[in-house]
């Protein structure tokens, strides 16, 4: 894992996220979805909501197979805004040539963190008639980029002539995907491929995640891979129910759905058509406040689990929520690199 480090702290990439994690800080990452347009202003606005509230921010790559500004393009703007991006890269839209070429460019532009994903199938996106690629998969992508960094070779085996890209290499983990008993071993496979960190799917069922982590510790994986638990605020009881039912690998306990419903109880007596716009606004605010409260509590409980190195806060199209969540969970202010070096 420390093959060819570039700094004394054993950092492979020099990324801020990596250095904080190696210094033992409980890391906070967040997510920024690029716009479905060329609007750089959207990215700047989101970046200003996230600056100082997290250590690095994931820039999604055509998430859910909907065309958006590219992760590397948006990442360049984010970098200029003073935030450290985590470039997401899926295997759905690019073959091994395109991925390597894009990563050379990303590194040259200053990106240091990479998240290797298989990618959602295009059928639910906005171009369902597209041809997908899947030349390589996420595990092979991890292998490819770690070999570029540690062995200084392209996927074909040819050696680099000039400087190689040195990414802090991440991947996703789905603790509750099927088959559940295999999931810790799948993390072991990603560790064997050379992954440095993982961000998990959203965790709402802490005991179930605890069982996953127990197995992960038994396999010693928490010592080889930094594990960032995925968390996110619920927006409404409807969203909670929808996610519980429709998103693969996501467990939302009834108790949390009930709490969300309860938060809107004051408006529950009236039929929807009798609610004034002000009522609806107040109800949405009450739901959101409860969603943030639940998220803060989840972080508190997840932090207690041995082997969890940080949290990945996914507040999709609700970036405003990240700061109050991090604040509420006692994770602000974020440490500086000087503090990381001193500790």
């Amino acid at each position: 894992m420390t093959a060819n480090p570039i700094s004394e702290d054993g950092s492979l990439s020099g990324s801020r996220l990596e250095r904080l994690l190696r210094a033992g800080h409980f890391a906070v990452t967040a997510e920024l979805g690029p716009p479905q347009s060329t609007d750089a202003g959207v990215i700047r606005a989101k970046a200003s909501l996230l600056r100082g509230a997290c250590d690095a921010v994931n820039i999604t790559d055509n998430q859910t197979a909907i065309v958006r500004m590219s992760s590397i393009g948006a990442g360049t703007i984010v970098l200029a805004e003073g935030l450290e991006p985590v470039i997401q890269m899926t295997c759905r839209d690019r073959n091994r040539l395109a991925i390597q070429a894009d990563l050379l460019g990303a590194y040259a532009l200053g990106m240091r963190n990479l998240l290797c994903l298989t990618g959602d199938h295009q059928q639910f996106g906005n171009h369902p008639t597209a041809k997908n690629v899947f030349d390589i998969d996420s595990v092979q992508l991890v292998q490819m980029v770690t070999a570029m960094r540690d062995d200084r070779v392209f996927q074909c085996g040819e050696a680099f002539d000039g400087p190689e890209p040195r990414f802090f290499v991440g991947a996703a983990a789905a603790p509750f995907g099927g088959p559940v008993e295999y999931r810790p071993y799948r993390l072991a496979k990603k560790a064997a491929a050379g992954v440095n960190f993982v961000q998990t799917q959203l965790i709402y069922d802490v005991p179930a995640f605890g069982r996953y982590m127990a197995k992960v510790r038994e396999l010693g994986l928490h010592e080889r891979v930094f594990i960032l638990a995925g968390v996110g605020p619920l927006k409404s009881p409807g969203m909670a129910r929808y996610m519980a039912k429709n998103v693969p690998g996501l467990l939302v306990p009834d108790e949390l759905i009930d709490r969300m419903t309860e938060a809107g109880a004051a408006w529950a007596g009236k039929p929807a058509e009798e609610l004034t716009p002000q009522d609806k606004k107040a109800r949405a605010a009450a739901w959101k406040a409860e969603g943030i409260r639940i998220c803060v509590e989840l972080i508190g409980r997840i932090r207690e689990i041995e082997g969890v190195a940080g949290v990945h806060i996914m507040a999709i199209e609700w970036e405003e929520a990240v700061r109050p969540i991090a604040e509420g969970a006692g994770l602000l202010p974020r440490p500086t690199l000087e503090e990381a070096a001193a500790s």
Partner: protein
């Protein structure tokens, strides 16, 4: 087998256009077994086309023949007389049969009457499922006899992805997750540790990605010459 589905009648009519002499040609092998293009389906198409012709009022000669295999010259040659007097041939064979006709009879106009779908098998009466993508480098030996190239929606070599839930694939609740199947069978066979080793990127060169493929068997060629 190669599976196929019948094209909608409207599309076939459009493909035929104004042709006066129409020959519907079935194939007696794969498409017969999957009820898409055998002699029975050829006869049915002829009936439908004749009815449509009568409604349209334009005179038209529609005949039918079915050969054992449209993908072999010998069988095609048996239908030469029918082919030569047709203005258009509606081939109910897979895409290979259609191309074989085009290749064997340079002056014939041939159109497909079916959509060739996949390499698969019937799993229930009236249901066929894909099993192989003819990738040219078979890996069934390490995947417990279940093909992830053809049966995983993303052709993953290191599945299952995060979209696998309750045994089905993220693309549809009706599609079993190939990697769940592989996992379960490896477990049953007591060799689950196969799933711990990252599989390297596949060599797609032997697949369609390497361009049109060709097999040359010198031993058979020599034997053929000596006969």
């Amino acid at each position: 087998m190669i599976t196929a589905e019948r094209k909608p009648l409207e599309e076939v009519k459009d493909l035929i256009g104004e042709a006066r002499n129409v020959l519907v040609m079935g194939c007696g092998t794969c498409v017969t077994v999957c009820f898409a293009g055998g002699s029975r389906e050829a006869a049915e198409l002829v009936v439908s086309l004749r009815m449509a012709t009568r409604l349209a009022g334009a005179p038209r000669e529609i005949t039918e023949t079915t050969v054992q295999r449209q993908c072999e010259w010998e069988y095609l040659d048996e239908a030469r007389a029918d082919v030569e007097q047709a203005d258009v041939i509606v081939s109910l064979a897979c895409g290979i049969g259609v191309q074989a006709i085009a290749e064997r009879f340079p002056d014939a106009r041939v159109v497909p009457g079916v959509n060739t779908t996949f390499l698969g098998m019937p799993t229930e009466h009236g249901i066929w499922e894909e099993r192989c993508a003819a990738c040219g480098e078979c890996i069934l030996g390490i995947t417990a006899g279940i093909c992830p190239i053809a049966r995983c929606a993303k052709s993953l070599l290191n599945g299952p992805c995060g979209g696998s839930e309750a045994g089905h694939c993220e693309v549809s609740p009706d599609t079993p997750c190939a990697w769940q199947l592989i996992h379960d069978r490896l477990q049953r066979l007591g060799v689950l540790d196969v799933l711990m080793q990252p599989q390297p990127p596949k060599n797609w060169k032997s697949s369609r990605d390497g361009g049109p493929r060709r097999i040359v068997r010198d031993d058979l060629r020599l034997a053929g010459e000596q006969e």
